[in-house]
Subunit: 206 residues, 4 copies
DNA sequence: ACGAACGGGACCTCCCGTTTAT
DNA sequence: ATAAACGGGAGGTCCCGTTCGT
């Protein structure tokens, strides 16, 4: 949707190239961050030429937006699918944190996509493409909460969307904090588990 | 000897100018962010000249670091003092969130200092000056938690430092989320209160 | 991967332009020296644009280093080839000074390349690129000495490498002196011949 | 003589301050080199204020020229006096190299004054103040040679001034080489001794 | 005489998005 | 389509020599 720029590729090969660009760009962005990555970095990493690059993405920004949409979407699906294997709403809710930790641990780029989102948000205008993925996460989490509440297993005096926003914000905030304080992955995981414990204690009515 | 130059004003007037630069710079950074702010912006906003700037700060980065240290320090003191007017540890702990919300509401720059910290952290090397303020917040919060636990009013099976890190990270994460999703202050306040409620439910043993 | 960019031209034309930049830059550096030469000088002299320059060399320093390597290498080969036309080691050794004088007389830039080397060495860090050419000269001269000694024509109680270092240092020192005292080429040539006479008297065993 | 700039100090205190500035400036120049030293560095090192500094020396360049004249003069006298303690001309000539090595070993700034000279020579115009000291060295050495020849102890078919120029140039060239190749003092001393041996072998008759 | 502030010039770096030959 | 070259703007740094109140 909302093809960011460039001519929409019409051939199968063109689409494959587009996907390829998204993947290599994601790796480069993950390594260097958005700002520190130049067009030439991306072009060199892709192996294409400048001309070809501009055929697919009109600018670095467009490419980054596409990367965010692509990665976010894939991970969202992956986490949700894994969570939904749990039988009960509460079990699903509980599975959320491990699923996300696992994602972050296994996909190196999953860590830095948030950073990419933030760097883009620093840019002049915040495009819908930047907000959409974050909103989707909130919606997914809110759904889990809502179902848990409906099942009578979660405290109902807290608004699901509010709660979901807090959880998503806290998760990303801890990622940032980990970067800023230069902590390691285990420390991050521990913090997230503490967050999860907090939620568990507060929400789960036994 | 032969310091790298910059600051260390010796007269009262010099100190006043230094502080003035710090404040005007904080305002400009708050409005535009670090990267989008140019030296010329800062110079124009201060009303001084390029030379005067160089006299006090060798670089934009130095200035930003000084701004962070200055603002963070002042707010830390202010919040802590206000919190400490409360009689009991738990009351102090409860006063934390309102105090921070109040700070953010009254001091426009308090909002964006975190953003400034993040932007600087994106830079090649994360200086200690960038990390220190965040660490101090965590320490202060951890102290409050610790005292509450000692008073037998807060659940003791959670590590104070862990918990403090989570709270600080969550708070900053919600600020970021507010920016990214372009929410307004009341929405942010509501989210923070939800976070506080979560903590209250989980921690306070009655 | 993702080289720091700059050069590595792939086509013949690209290579030609690179070489052209190297030559024009050498001329400008020779005339004005490193520091006094601005990027704009180089760009104007080349007739190309800023972008083209950046395409080939990331920085003024890189360009200067490349100039040094290029020129030094070519001259080294030229002098050595000429020297090696002589039949005996001693004759080769004796041909060295005339060959270098001739080089300096015919290639205006050969004179100032040493100056360029020195100016770059004044920079914070002395790169290997700066040292390498000088070391190569020493090695070449040392080889000539060694062969002369092996042929029983040169005094053997002096270390070849030591001697070569002294000769190279003296040669460059005389160039510098010529500049500082604002002497002319004939005066320089005379000094070098005096140096050669000194060496001849001291070394050649008859 | 030829007071470089500023008002000629008229009081004894003024003269003392001028001498003090020369010494501290020499130390700073020796440490950082000419170019890398800023006015503020010099002013800070002197402990004076900007105003006072400009009272004595109109610019960095003037100060550097004065430093060169001052240091060069002192060392010239020192070396010559030491050399002249030797009984015969040849002994005096032989004492020259040890005297200079000793000077360089004991006075750290003696090493870098040549470098300072060269850096200044790179500047737009080569002032007489830059050339004079070097010329004086040559004259002194030439005198020694001339006396040795008159005494019948040194080969007379080489022009004393020529020879002196070569020796001075070679000595300075070896200093430069030492810097460029990042050699240490012992290596430098060894090279200079090799140079001396060369001269000894070539010149001393008998 | 001192610290503060002036006022501005010069330079290098960075890199974008485009056009031109082949 | 590819490499080469365009063409330029924006920004940060550096620091000089001076002037201004005190």
């Amino acid at each position: 949707m909302t093809e960011p720029a460039g001519k929409t590729p019409t051939t199968a090969k063109g689409e494959a190239t587009g996907a390829f660009l998204l993947r290599t760009a994601a790796a480069v962005f993950a390594e260097r961050g958005y700002r520190a990555t130049t067009q030439n970095d991306l072009i060199a990493a892709s192996g294409l030429t400048k001309g070809a690059f501009y055929f697919y993405f009109r600018s670095k920004r467009d490419l980054a937006l596409a990367v965010i949409a692509d990665q976010h979407g894939r991970w969202l699906v992956r986490v949700r699918d894994r969570v939904l294997t749990q039988p009960t709403p509460t079990a699903q809710f509980r599975a959320l944190v491990p699923a996300m930790l696992d994602l972050v641990a296994t996909e190196p780029q999953a860590w830095s996509i948030t950073r990419l989102t933030r760097e883009l948000a620093l840019d002049d205008t915040i495009a819908d493409e930047v907000r959409a993925p974050t909103l989707q996460w909130i919606v997914v989490v809110a759904d889990l909460v809502r179902r848990g509440q409906a099942a009578g297993e979660l405290r109902t005096d807290l608004d699901p969307h509010q709660l979901a926003t807090v959880l998503v914000g806290a998760f990303d905030g801890l990622k940032d904090l980990t970067d800023i304080l230069q902590l390691d992955q285990p420390a991050f995981a521990q913090h997230v588990r503490t967050l999860a414990a907090l939620v568990e204690l507060a929400l789960v009515t036994t």
